[in-house]
């Protein structure tokens, strides 16, 4: 059976390679499955739901969003790399730093960072250091002074371990020369009540939280290159003298070996969808990205460098 599918695949590939013009004119001709490796209701899911109708409009076929949560995404990615066919009809959502961190830290994450072809990174949620509105910390400096006086007392919540939030907190501690205690939660959702209820001093979270809870939280700084459109009054870490830029990038990937024209077509479709939903997403605190092709690969490289040292440090300490 396996042999059969493999040889058919080879045949298809051969045809595709020899006469790309003809066969590519036909992609896509059946529904596309768009797998989200997380639970419904999260940022990845919401974005996919927004993209879905736009993608369908552009591609002219149905795009079915399904979920395969587990292991912080690893379950979906390992299965995708193992079984998905490189024909462009299987697309999986992927995130930085997850796909960089997990294979480094876990004994066997079941997949490789470079084991799939990223079609596009379509948006970025920068990390943001957030405190409660009635907190004593008015500026980033207040926070740093406090942490200098009382090492480890400053508890900073965030989503997950080895996540963008976690790694950013560590980079921040290094850059500012302070000691904080990072408290991981299972996702961004539970961090919010913990911060509101005063169970944490601050939270390293993503900018959409800053935007959505404007009247409850104060954002001290964001880890973006430049100020986030939805938060014009919030300084960046860079402005304040700490060179940290990072957060979660979301994108989509296809299996390695997917023909280039198909990848291009998908990239075009996602670019078009991204432009359509940009307004809604910007208002929610996202930063739009249009990294396709080599840019997409380069981004993985940059972020691997940025977080790699931190991860290696943690690994050594263990």
């Amino acid at each position: 059976m396996k042999l059969l599918t493999k040889s058919t695949l080879l045949a298809v590939l051969a045809v595709v390679l020899v006469i790309p013009g003809i066969s590519m004119a036909e992609f896509p001709e059946k529904p596309i499955t768009y797998t989200i490796p997380f639970n419904p209701g999260g940022e990845s899911d919401i974005t996919a739901r927004l993209q879905e109708p736009e993608l369908e409009k552009y591609l002219g076929v149905a795009v079915n969003v399904t979920h395969k949560p587990g292991g912080g995404g690893a379950v979906a990615w390992s299965e995708f790399q193992r079984t998905a066919k490189p024909d462009g009809y299987s697309v999986v959502g992927c995130n930085i730093p997850h796909i960089i961190g997990q294979p480094m830290i876990r004994k066997d994450a079941g997949y490789e960072t470079d084991g799939m072809k990223v079609v596009m990174w379509f948006h970025f949620t920068p990390n943001a250091l957030v405190v409660s509105k009635d907190s004593e910390f008015k500026t980033l400096d207040d926070f740093i002074q406090f942490a200098k006086k009382k090492p480890y007392v400053g508890t900073v919540g965030g989503s997950g371990t080895y996540s963008a939030n976690h790694l950013e907190t560590i980079r921040f501690m290094k850059a500012a020369g302070i000691e904080l205690t990072y408290v991981p939660y299972t996702g961004t959702g539970p961090v919010i009540p913990a911060l509101m209820g005063g169970h944490l001093k601050g939270a390293m979270t993503y900018t959409p939280v800053s935007v959505n809870y404007k009247d409850k939280f104060r954002t001290l700084a964001v880890a973006a290159e430049e100020r986030v459109p939805a938060l014009p009054d919030v300084p960046t870490f860079k402005e304040l003298g700490y060179d940290i830029v990072g957060g979660a990038f979301r994108g989509v990937a296809v299996p390695l070996g997917t023909p280039q024209p198909v990848v291009d077509k998908l990239a075009e479709a996602y670019t078009a969808a991204n432009k359509q939903i940009a307004k809604k997403q910007l208002d929610l605190g996202f930063v739009m990205k249009y990294a396709t092709g080599d840019d997409a690969v380069a981004l993985i490289g940059t972020m691997r460098k940025a977080y790699g040292d931190v991860l290696a440090d943690i690994k050594k300490k263990k």
Partner: protein, 151 residues
Amino acid sequence: MNREINTEIASGVVGLILSAVFFFALEDISWMSILFPKTLVYIMALIALALVVRGIIKPSRDRIFHVGSNVRWMVTGVLFFAWVLFMPVLGFFVSTVVFMTIIVGYLARARSRVTIGKFMVWIPIVIAEVTFFYLIFTKVLYVPLPEGMFF
């Protein structure tokens, strides 16, 4: 049939075996990740031990596997496993039609004689039923069911 065993000792022994399985699977990772599971394994071993001790001090016996035919549930169980394991090979639809028909025939045998004529009635019903669920899941709920060599 009359099978009686001391279920306290039995469940204690099962608990000890499971504790051992998980104990040897404990790995040397950061305290945050391992503290809780480790504690639980010890707690389970303690409870299991208590069960064994109590079973020895105050022995009591209970009947087990006393409902109906044991062969029948075991065969049904094996058929369930085969059904699921064949799903990625035959695809959900084909695998389900095949194994549902087998289970229907097997269980019906307990009550009455099974004839070819009866299968002629059952098979269309099974196919109709599976088609209904298959369409709901794939077309309405967008669940990508396992595909095999057919579809």
